[in-house]
Chain length 661, copies 2
Amino acid sequence: MATDTAAPTPTGYVQPEIDVPALTALLDGRYAQVRDLVRANLTEYASILVDAEELSMSDFRERVKEVVVEMAATGQTGMGFPEEYGGGGDIGASVAAFETLAYGDLSVLVKVGVQFGLFGGAILQLGTKHHHDAYLADLITGKLMGCFAMTETGHGSNVQALGTVATYDAEAQEFVITTTTEEARKDYIGNAAEHAELAVVFAQLEVGPESGRASQGVHAFVVPIRVDGEPAPGVRIEDDGLKMGLNGVDNGRIWFDQVRVPRTALLNRFADVTAEGTYESPIENPNRRFFTMLGTLVQGRVCVGGGGINAAKVALAIATRYAVRRRQFEATSDEHEELLLDYGMHQRRLLPLIARTYALHFAQEVVAGQLHDVFSGTHAPGAEDDQARRELESRAAGTKALGTWHATRTIQECREACGGAGYLSVNRFAALKADSDIFTTFEGDNHVLLQLVAKGLLTDYASEFEDLDQLGMVRFVTGLAVETVIERTSVHKLLERVRDLLPSGDEWDQEAGLLDPDYQLAMLRFREEHMLAGVARRLKRGIDQDLNPGEVFSLVQDHVIAAAHAHVERLVLEAFVDKTRSLPDGDLKVALNLLCDLFALSTIEADRAWFMEHGRLTVPRSKAISREVSSLCRKIRPLAVPLVDAWAIPPEMLRSPDLVG
Amino acid sequence: MATDTAAPTPTGYVQPEIDVPALTALLDGRYAQVRDLVRANLTEYASILVDAEELSMSDFRERVKEVVVEMAATGQTGMGFPEEYGGGGDIGASVAAFETLAYGDLSVLVKVGVQFGLFGGAILQLGTKHHHDAYLADLITGKLMGCFAMTETGHGSNVQALGTVATYDAEAQEFVITTTTEEARKDYIGNAAEHAELAVVFAQLEVGPESGRASQGVHAFVVPIRVDGEPAPGVRIEDDGLKMGLNGVDNGRIWFDQVRVPRTALLNRFADVTAEGTYESPIENPNRRFFTMLGTLVQGRVCVGGGGINAAKVALAIATRYAVRRRQFEATSDEHEELLLDYGMHQRRLLPLIARTYALHFAQEVVAGQLHDVFSGTHAPGAEDDQARRELESRAAGTKALGTWHATRTIQECREACGGAGYLSVNRFAALKADSDIFTTFEGDNHVLLQLVAKGLLTDYASEFEDLDQLGMVRFVTGLAVETVIERTSVHKLLERVRDLLPSGDEWDQEAGLLDPDYQLAMLRFREEHMLAGVARRLKRGIDQDLNPGEVFSLVQDHVIAAAHAHVERLVLEAFVDKTRSLPDGDLKVALNLLCDLFALSTIEADRAWFMEHGRLTVPRSKAISREVSSLCRKIRPLAVPLVDAWAIPPEMLRSPDLVG
């Protein structure tokens, strides 16, 4: 494990050396070639980063569209579509391509996401051969631009409650699409303000004679919204105008006034309306049908999570390189000022973020792999497949939430760590910060996503409950014997496992074991299970006290979200530990083990109050963890630059001539 | 205390009602009239918020300059200058005016700060009658624009190390100003890129014959940098270009190539050079001289802290009003969706931030009052005055750090709490976030400022040590008997006091006392003193182990900063408690007591790990604090809108037609 040049310290610790290309290969994984294609395209179109600052909003939108179409021609953006329509037929490759694109301008990224992920994905996943034949080939090249009109001003995350209505007119064999109230206007729709010809519109489907019209819930329709560049008859479009960032994407609002589309405009993979106006679906339960449809769109969340993680890498690469160039104040000698990264505080600010970025990278690799497997049909169909889909949806939601929060936090910390220089646009943070800010909200608000994760955990993904909303969740959970939940979450077994790992039982006073991944994992598992059981108990208790279920939920909500967060963090650590364990002995393994320890212990440290409150950390051990985190930072300090170099971000994407130089 | 309409609950708690104008009057304090003038001016020039989005950078800079000059004509920006030059002669009023201006466009705020605070303040505080007569009248009207050229690319916070040199040429009776290296270029200088005619330049003064030239440390000089709009001979100016925000301020870089200015260009209040080239100063110690000069500029920090706090208010006012309009998901009934602010999580996100904003507001009132007193000469001169100045500097540094971090955090949380709508520029968060981001860095990087605070605490502001840098601080502290520091910080006495407050001694298991401000203050005092003593011990131990002082400092740095942070938080709580105690009985007092409790307990909750680790919180009591925080949130929920309305932010400054409506 030691290289010849490194001398062991008295404690036997040998500083590892990092083979950067080898680490890059490890990180890039099976899609190294795809990632390199995107890196080359990013470099080719590097001027877009300057365009973002210099062009008017209108010109920049056009330029972003051009770049997206030109990138599409290299095959980069169509990898997830079937080969027969000109796609690449590899879902994993399409995620890898998208993630890597996040090293560059994020308007380009989001425009790609809107066109190929949301719009193209909806046509592919919710439509049938008729729609595929009609649209896929042209949308893959970017010749046909479209938008994904789901969100409404009054209904962001609560899609089931949206207000747009599609009424079937059996006589004309047409659907009539109408925006019923001002709250029901479609809003923040990317590609809507200027470029989209088509919209996939989500609306409440109403079928039947006027006297007894029945609502069948939310369905998706293909609606032409623009003809020869002008809004189609009955369609009103308004520009959302200037945004905090992503101004290369033309977001807009759409109103529909009795807009008629043919019966075939219904994306009818999961439900259809016969010519006579009879509603048919192979999925009987309306909630399940709705969530099945939404579930096919999970790729967007996987992609946004990965995009956030890679945007964080750009910020860390700049701040880390700056920290080994910039000196500030005399500290160790009167002769010269100290490098920023030699300050303990600066190490504490940047290095745990690097560790968490690595952890999230490997967690993202897992969820992207699951996405590929589920959507490539390598799972057996049937119940097992259902279970795999639900787990994928939960993991995608959780990784998206943690990955995008991490991006927001990391970019901010890195800007501050670069001081005044970090404020100049040429140094990248301005765009990174403004463009990535909305990642925590779009493709599902992070708090709502974590509630979704919690719901899955509390109901154990029981298929009969997968479609519960908040109110339903409370009613369901409180209807169970709490013991069932606790039994299922196996808190007691875990407690024993944690104890077994620690030779001295409850006397956790020595530092031995802190660097044992089994100990670290047991801690995170214990927290998760304990929190889940606590949520179940509190829901139950609230109902027993005759409180309104909604009030109960409101009281317990932060606990619900904390439990989901704990669950996802455990998955992230597992992914990191699994990866390091799979490596052959050598410096790379040593280095990643240090990083994995830093991630695990800084995660426990951040929540050490909880662990103390729940008897899983003594005071001396809590303090020992803080010391160990600082010690790991010092060990990782010499590896910081190779660790960020291994992300292989094209230098043109870093800009920052005075910082990374 | 109870109004007639409010029915007491079974526990005797009566929901208070807030008289909004009365609360506004309380918050505005003695400068209500000044604040109202600024509010009127903000409304008058409200279109600047749109200009910020629509104009080119160059046009926007011109527009901001115009607005600043027109506001100057109302007397708003000159309140701190002597009346004989056209100023208002009231320092407290000038701070109040500046703070209130932060409700509007922050480029205008920062341009005002650069012109009247930094440039004007340096002329006023470092210059003498000659300079006052020459410049003050014209700079107060904005006819004469100037900049404050302190920061260099290679030296941000470490001003003493800057590289620009001013050499005295006795023959010509001139100073020769030179940028010695590329690192020594002046950078990020507001007003430099386009508008400033003059610069106050900070440079190392060198005096004496060429053979034996002596450096006298950093001094300030008035240097013409532009003549008829063109750079003066020997002066090179470069535009810093586009920034993350504040693009109405023309930041730039300046290089000096043997630029000659007359001997009278030295701002000579604290030191002078005779015609023959003899250096003279009433302050013998060069370090003390330097810090005395810098100390006169403390108003800038006081102003930026207040600006940050008021920017946070704008964000909270929008997010709070949105949260009582916007519904999301069915929760308490199947009939309608729930208001955001009725969710426990949403209360947890916004209400502690409102409480902290109130706390910081009152802390800011204290530091602004101290500033006024010290600079209005109401203190006795001499040693007492010195002590007051040092305490003011420390408090200004600390309040600036906490106030600006609070702004960054609050604006981000509020943006996220408004979801996608928060991302549209019309809804204010885009500008608020981008423009305020640099507040944590300029006028002193927050981490560096907290080190300054810690230094003052560790040395007890002993005048002979006030001028110690990091290295000096380590050497000084480790040269003391640790016992001296501990004795001084009186940890033991505090420990006893905390115990006395709790009837059951160390058995802190009941909730009694949680809402006692003396308990809350004792907790924060204990934390502060314990951390300080710990820092002293660790510094000492490091030196005893023969480590390099710089290494010791690096190891202890996060502890140093935590101690300073704890100190400032205690001062903030004291300010809030003092204010509430001064109020007559009534609903306002009840409401502010709730808010003060929420601030105190959410602050303790956030650091409850530390309190448990140091034996000041038992697990049951820690959990009780978390429950109490949630309970306080529910009590404050009905008061949220009046609490933000009382800030009396002009509606035009909120914009956000769809959010606050």
